[in-house]
Amino acid sequence: MKRQLTLVALLAIAGTGSLGLLTSCAKQQTVVVYVSHDQVFSEPILKDFERETGIKVRVVYDTEETKSTGAMNRLIAEKNNSQADVYWANEPIRAEVLRQKGISAPYISPNAAGIPDTFREPNGHWTGFAARARVLIVHKDTNPRPSSVVAYTDPRWRGKTVIANPLFGTTTTQIAALFVLWGDKRANTFMRNLHNNAIKVSSSNGDSADLVARGEFAFSLVDSDDVVNRMKRNQPVEMVYPDQGNDEVGCFIVPNAVVLVAGSPHPEAGKMLIDYLLSKETEKKLAFSDAAQIPLHASVATPPYVKSIESIRVMKVNYAQVAAKLQAIQPLLKNWIGP
């Protein structure tokens, strides 16, 4: 019996002791940020902020791989008692949805100057920075190389292509952008043709990239960081910026977006973090990191494998319109996925 008592006591001491240690640093100045950008890329930036300012950063990480059921749903559920100060979204549509739901607060950072208007909400409810491009990841054995998203509907690639579930993440955003750009009729035909060409649907862009890298499929539409990441691991893939011809639609650009949360507990620290994220230095760090993101400020140095925003033929869309279209086409996309 003594051994049982000792064990129970030890378990209780170990548990409460560890918990006490973990919550002991609550008094330091803090900022709470919810992050939908991949943790491997965002964590070093936030640690740098912590080191440079002395402000403790408490983070809720989420990722597109988890369908953002974490951070975004928490922000909505916590609307009446906000716990977060800042939301770092990995694309502007979620930020736009938060604006519509009254969860974001306006803040125009001085560091937003120089970022093109296309990538900013006019009242400062969100501001874009460090973008990814929506590109094709192509297996090296694939011949000929596809050069347009329309290649998905080419009978030559029947059953050999994969796309991330269009109900989630940047794939949804891109399809909504195509609906805005092409109009409903042409976009609907495109979606129908994807089905007819036996396209496969994966759970995420990361899975699509892995499936192509492992030779399961010829190519897939993914984010540029997914490709750079596989290329750095020496996997047999190449990156193709789609639709770069003069009469083509251009490559869809997905900036990160930063949002000040309405009713946040530490708004001043939150604004400091936003200023930090929107700085040229942060964009440079994200360009040189494995995230390989494209700076939106002009004249920020980039590594050779990251194209400057000026050198890419960019798809010209209005992100607020894309957000509105995205919500309108969700039922259609749900039917497209089917059972």
């Binding site: 940020v33 749903n73 989630f168 994966s202 059972p339």
Partner: protein, 530 residues
């Protein structure tokens, strides 16, 4: 009085912490904006054809997984728990390993084995690897991965209950018959509730699983809930979408009650200290050892070897510890606290169910399993809705919310295990103590708990495992800066180096096995703790 008051307090506490978040969520399904409406359910009915197809997929997957896991797990449980097979303990630990990992990680590991350029797929001719790959991505692959993930539930529960069968019944059978017949006519019918309970657990866990089918591109019903959460941000519709799952859960639980729950446990009260018969395999010992070893290699060693090979560098582990040491400590602390509280709460609720001391015992039992089968995301959102207020920030803003989440979702496990173990303790022992004037707490502490010790340790360990591997609730409610190891692994999986992820998975397995090893040492043969 002491007994009734304590049991009523435990039951009401569980009903409150378990039911309130769910009620808060369900209430939202009847509102659109601020108006009372059935619109959400009308929307659900409008897409009933699509839902029926998805539900068909879910039921097929759950049924196949349950059948295979039971057919393989039960004989393995008997071999490991009742025979003189060599290396029984090692095999038990080995078969438990897949249960320690989030099923999604297991699916990724199997992809690395069976995919076109995987460990096996790579060495096959093109047509063979294509066939293997197409098999992996679909119902067969999903069934296989979830079978390997949940097999140990059947093995472990079979072993736990085998240890509680009254050996005198078997001895009586042995006087007139050989072991196979005794097993068929006495032992297995006695442990039928355990096998049925294990099958129900596997079925319900598979029914609620979303990560593996999503990764392996097999559309199932829970995806509907995920879609409503992640694509539409519609909490009401997401909760409403779980209703058909809950109806099926209740039907299955009803069936379980009708079939076996009441009938068999009373037959198997084991006298304390009774010597248990062990089946001698004789000339079959080595061939069976070969078969079990083969199974262990195929089911466990293959996916595990991918993780070990992938992580086989010091730098991977250095990176893993530098990125996740805080999460490892937190996971350990949360799981120890969670498992301890779960065992205490589960003990009292289990006692209530076993003795049916209060009329609400059935409600507590059904609620426990009902909550166990709810998607963690739904419980998480319910917890936010209930606890995220300025007054209750002391709970919501701290790690207490994670522990609360564990109590909501996993109380069914220690509760059911306790109820089953108490069924093997003769009621006469408690009655005799009562006659001497001992209080109920004294009886519990000096008679019931020592006799139920092994079962309670099993309850603690299973609770610990489930707390440690929890992803659904932790992901939704963890306080900023306080994530757990499975959450950290999941968030790092997006573009994280495979060697880092593999190292973190190996660490998760080791951290989970640690208390198993401690208890194994504590309860080793010859120890007076037995």
């Amino acid at each position: 009085m002491q007994k009734r008051l304590t049991l009523a307090t435990a039951a009401l506490l569980f009903l409150a912490i378990g039911l309130l978040p769910v009620l808060a969520m369900v209430a939202k399904t009847f509102y659109v904006g601020d108006e009372l409406s059935l619109k959400i359910y009308q929307g659900l009915l409008a897409s009933s054809k699509q839902q029926a197809v998805l539900m068909g997929h879910s039921l097929s997957l759950s049924l196949l997984t349950t059948v295979f896991a039971t057919m393989v797990g039960m004989p393995l449980g008997v071999l490991l728990g009742k025979t003189d097979l060599p290396l029984r303990r090692s095999f038990t630990v080995l078969f438990t390993v897949p249960l320690l990992m989030p099923p999604y990680v297991l699916a990724v590991a199997w992809f690395a084995v069976l995919g076109k350029e995987g460990l096996i797929g790579h060495s096959l001719p093109d047509s063979g690897s294509a066939l293997l790959s197409s098999w992996l991505f679909g119902l067969p692959g999903c069934t296989w991965v979830l079978f390997t993930a949940f097999l140990s539930i059947v093995i472990l529960l079979t072993m736990v209950y085998l240890g509680a069968v009254n050996p005198r019944l078997e001895e009586a059978g042995r006087l007139v018959s050989r072991w196979p017949s005794v097993l068929r006519h006495i032992t297995l019918p006695l442990i039928a509730p355990a096998i049925l309970f294990a099958a129900v657990l596997v079925f319900l866990l598979t029914l609620g699983e979303v990560g593996v089918p999503t990764f392996l591109r097999y559309p199932v019903y829970p995806v509907e809930t995920l879609t409503q959460f992640a694509a539409f941000y519609d909490f009401g519709a997401a909760t409403a979408a779980t209703v058909p799952l809950l109806v099926i859960t209740l039907l299955i639980l009803g069936l379980e009650y009708r079939c076996l729950h009441k009938r068999v446990l009373s037959l198997s009260a084991a006298p304390p200290g009774a010597r248990r018969g062990r089946i001698e395999l004789g000339p079959w010992r080595l061939p069976i050892l070969g078969i079990v070893s083969g199974l262990a290699v195929v089911i466990v060693a293959l996916p595990l070897s991918v993780l070990v090979v992938e992580s086989a560098s010091i730098s991977a582990y250095v990176d893993a510890f530098s990125r996740a040491s805080d999460s490892i400590v937190r996971s350990l602390a949360f799981s120890v606290i969670g498992a301890t509280l779960l065992t205490v709460l589960g003990f009292f609720c289990g006692y209530l169910i076993h003795g049916r001391a209060l009329s609400l015992w059935r409600g507590v039992d059904v609620l426990g399993l009902f909550l166990f089968t709810l998607p963690g995301t739904v419980i998480g959102i319910g917890l936010i809705g209930l606890w995220n207020t300025p007054i209750t920030n002391v709970i919501y803003g701290t790690s207490a919310i994670i522990i609360l989440g564990y109590l909501v979702q996993y109380t069914a496990l220690p509760m059911r295990i306790t109820a089953a173990i108490l069924g093997h303790i003769p009621r006469s022992l408690e009655q005799a103590a009562e006659l001497t004037g001992a209080s109920w707490f004294m009886i519990l502490w000096h008679i019931v708990v020592p006799l139920a010790k092994r079962g309670l340790i099993a309850a603690w360990l299973i609770s610990y495992i489930f707390c440690l591997r929890d992803l659904g609730i932790s992901m939704v409610v963890y306080p900023p800066g306080s994530d757990t190891l499975p959450v950290r692994i999941f968030t790092l999986m997006a573009n994280g180096a495979p060697s880092l992820i593999a190292a973190l998975c190996v660490i998760l397995i080791v951290v989970t096995l640690l208390p198993l090893a401690i208890f194994g040492f504590w309860l080793r043969p010859g120890s007076n703790a037995r």
